[in-house]
């Protein structure tokens, strides 16, 4: 279980390394020129569009619900449910100006960024220690960190509520900032371990001989070379924080402290009335920061993952 196999993957094809190393170039042009257009239509574009449409439909449905007037929402006979000719911004307006939405957005951002930064710092140190310091029991600890993923929030959240209270964190952003890393550290440590292994050992050897300390090696050599890996870990952690629900539901009580997912559900479900328009508008607006983040970094994300796994 220990070594996670990743580095061994391409070990055999060491001769490939020259081709691969350092670049994250797209190799996909490959063989496509051998295929005719009709064939590509059937084997590529058709299945791809089916999958993409299925993946996007619920999202479209959210967007549509967010701008549909309420009257049209439940009247499927008079109005075509797939479209609306009278879009309204009422729901969005209500969301932004008649609720604490901006505050929640800020809270979520704050918690997500803080928890992510903390986790990445901890993960960088841990991953470096496991991969390069190889202290006694490093593999064993590496396995343990991975096992931490075995422990789902749904198991922990009862005892953790007591613990959070003991530490005096209840209903503060720190309740989340300090507990989220337990979800984030295992993955980002794993990701960074893979990435650190791609950095030639010789570089460190030389630096060590020149008398550099481990800390200097980490900050001057390893980290600058691992930027894509760090971005990838950052995005992943940020997404998890943004979506987390159970802890946020349990550890925060005041309205102004809440995070977006919890607050929206709480605010726009009036007992037995679901205000779909505002709920969906909230979901959309709440996803926007992530959409922007991904739009900018998706290529990084893919290439960083590539870097992390290829050795």
């Amino acid at each position: 279980m220990t070594d996670f196999q990743i580095p061994k993957l391409a070990a055999k094809a060491a001769d490939l390394k020259a081709v691969l190393s350092g670049t994250t170039a797209d190799h996909s042009e490959g063989m496509s020129y051998l295929e005719s257009l009709p064939r590509r239509l059937v084997t590529l574009y058709l299945p791809l569009s089916i999958i993409v449409i299925t993946l996007l439909f619920p999202f479209y449905w959210m967007a549509l619900t967010a701008i549909k007037p309420d009257a049209q929402l439940l009247d499927l006979d008079k109005f075509n449910p797939f479209w609306t000719w009278q879009p309204t911004l009422k729901h969005v307006e209500k969301l932004l100006f008649e609720s604490h939405y901006l505050e929640w957005l800020w809270n979520t951002m704050y918690v997500a960024v803080a928890a992510t930064v903390l986790s990445i710092v901890a993960s960088v140190l841990a991953a470096y220690a496991i991969v390069r310091l190889r202290y006694r029991g490093a593999h064993w600890i590496g396995g343990l960190i991975f096992l931490a993923y075995l422990v789902p929030p749904s198991i922990l959240f009862i005892p953790l509520a007591t613990v959070v209270f003991q530490y005096g964190l209840f209903d503060t952003p720190f309740a989340l900032i300090l507990t989220y890393p337990t979800i984030l550290i295992p993955f980002s440590t794993w990701l960074l371990m893979g990435y650190f292994k791609t950095i030639p050992f010789e570089l460190e050897e030389c630096a060590l001989i020149d008398g550099a300390s481990r800390w200097q090696i980490l900050t001057r050599i390893v980290l600058p070379l691992s930027i894509p890996g760090l971005i990838s870990a950052f995005i992943f952690c940020f997404t998890l924080c943004w979506n987390e629900f159970i802890y946020a539901l349990t550890f925060l009580t005041s309205v102004q402290n809440k995070t977006v997912p919890v607050a929206i559900v709480n605010e726009f479900v009036d007992g037995d009335v679901y205000r779909w328009g505002s709920l969906m508008a909230g979901a959309l607006v709440g996803s926007l920061p992530l959409v922007i983040l991904y739009a900018f970094f998706v290529e990084h994300y893919v290439s960083a993952m590539t870097g992390a796994i290829k050795e």
Partner: protein, 439 residues
């Protein structure tokens, strides 16, 4: 589904003002005077964090917040009020009880104070004070909050649930008035189905609606989860009869009720797909507020639950008790606030704001103006008197609360009605669970 904009909020506000209640400066004057003479003096610099369930009717929480403000002004207590959905109130209160912090007051559902009787502030003095002043408490409400002679909380109100139906559909089905007994109700529901104007009640985990009507059927057949001494008695021929009746009834429902939660019937009814269901007054209020649903509102009526073979009302109504935690630093402020809420000057206005959604538990409020403001409200005024506590004839307490919270009765009926289990199997599963809870 209506959309509660500011406009409807304002309407709610004017309706309240029209009811002739105290508002604005008058309210503050009253609050000041009250604070002077009340038996509980809020501690200096007191701060109360209050959790309440999320309002169903906007006017209700407007009235509530006004009360909170008046109380703040009169006593100098800082109030921090926030609301949680029905489902989240109990977990949150439980966590607070468990950790000993976060909340001072919790306004929850059913027998909430009984879930952690050792963690709450005794309310005997408040209950006595209010009971004496306002004609005493109704039986079910008192039973919900009392452990022995101690009051663990104050039953602020009952959220009444009654039959909500479309009169035109009923008449078309050949009924002049809403059925008053079980066989009649079954015939009526069958006739509705035949006309393609079906009825439907939640068979899913809907804490309010599903618990209400399934307990009503169970108890109506004189079947009980436990007897007076908390001995498990679910395994009885009466339960079998209740199951069979329920199945016949459920077969006449609109499809999908097994997945319903508390909001599903509102949605279906307001969309004109459902013609009879059990609910609080919120469906009717929503229809009234929506100009596009005028006809629907005019056609909507309420009726008492039909009475079962047992021959007396067996209604499970949703009591909403408020409790103060023992660990609060400001017990007097907490008590003062609770008593303040239930004073006539506040409470009648509040009832009006709730527009029938809340029913008083103090007998003197039978004459509250809300019950005559709209004749269709009147039915809901009986909710507190006709109710049985959530424990049926057993002791209301932690055990009964667990049984309700675990949806034992709901699951038993749902298991049988959806054909997953036969009567014997459904009862056996429930009996086993009950025996563990009541061990």
């Amino acid at each position: 589904m209506t959309d509660f904009t500011r406009r409807t909020l304002m309407q709610g506000g004017t309706a309240m003002a029209a009811a002739g209640a105290l508002t604005g400066p008058a309210l503050f004057d009253f609050a000041k005077a009250w604070a002077q003479s009340a038996p509980w003096k809020a501690e200096k610099g007191a701060k109360l964090t209050v959790m309440r369930w999320k309002r169903f009717v906007p006017g209700e929480d407007a009235a509530f917040n006004e009360m909170v403000k008046a109380f703040e002004a009169a006593t100098g207590t800082k109030m921090n009020v926030f609301s949680e959905s029905f489902e989240d109130v109990q977990p949150k209160a439980s966590v607070a009880a468990n950790t000993g912090s976060g909340l001072d007051l919790a306004w929850g559902l059913h027998t909430l104070p009984q879930l952690f009787p050792t963690k709450v502030l005794m309310m005997n003095d408040v209950a006595d004070y209010l009971g004496k002043k306002y004609g005493g408490w109704t039986d079910a409400a008192a039973a919900t909050c009392k452990q022995g002679n101690n009051w663990l909380g104050i039953p602020v109100a009952t959220i009444g649930g009654y039959m909500t139906y479309r009169k035109s559909a009923m008449e078309k089905a050949g009924f002049k008035e809403f059925p008053k007994d079980f066989p009649g109700f079954l015939e009526y529901s069958k006739a509705l189905k035949k006309n393609n104007t079906p009825s439907g009640m939640a068979l899913g985990h809907a804490s309010g609606d599903a618990n209400a009507w399934l307990h009503w059927i169970l108890w109506g057949h004189n079947a009980w989860t436990v007897d007076k001494n908390d001995k498990v008695t679910i395994n009885s021929p009466e339960t079998v009869k209740a199951l069979e009746y329920c199945k016949q009834l459920a077969d006449t429902f609109i499809p999908g009720t097994a997945s319903w939660n508390d909001s599903s019937n509102n949605k279906a009814y307001l969309a004109g797909e459902l013609y009879c269901t059990n609910n609080g007054i919120s469906i009717y209020v929503a229809a009234k507020d929506d100009p596009a649903k005028k006809d629907l509102a005019a056609d909507t009526y309420h009726a008492l639950w039909p009475v079962g073979p047992i021959g007396k009302p067996t209604e499970l109504q949703l009591c909403v008790p408020i409790l103060a935690f023992k660990f609060t630093k400001y017990p007097n402020a907490a008590k003062a606030f609770i008593a303040f809420m239930l004073e006539k000057q506040n409470f009648e206005k509040w009832l009006s704001g709730a527009r029938g959604y809340l029913t008083h538990t103090l007998n003197a409020y039978d004459s509250a103006p809300v019950w005559t403001a709209d004749p269709k409200n009147e039915v809901f005024s009986h909710a507190s008197q006709r109710a049985l506590p959530a424990s049926g004839i057993g002791h209301p307490g932690e055990k009964a609360a667990t049984a309700i919270a675990d949806f034992l009765v709901v699951d038993m009926f749902a298991n049988f009605c959806t054909g997953r289990e036969d009567a014997k199997g459904a009862i056996a599963v429930t009996e086993r669970q009950l025996k563990r809870i009541y061990r």
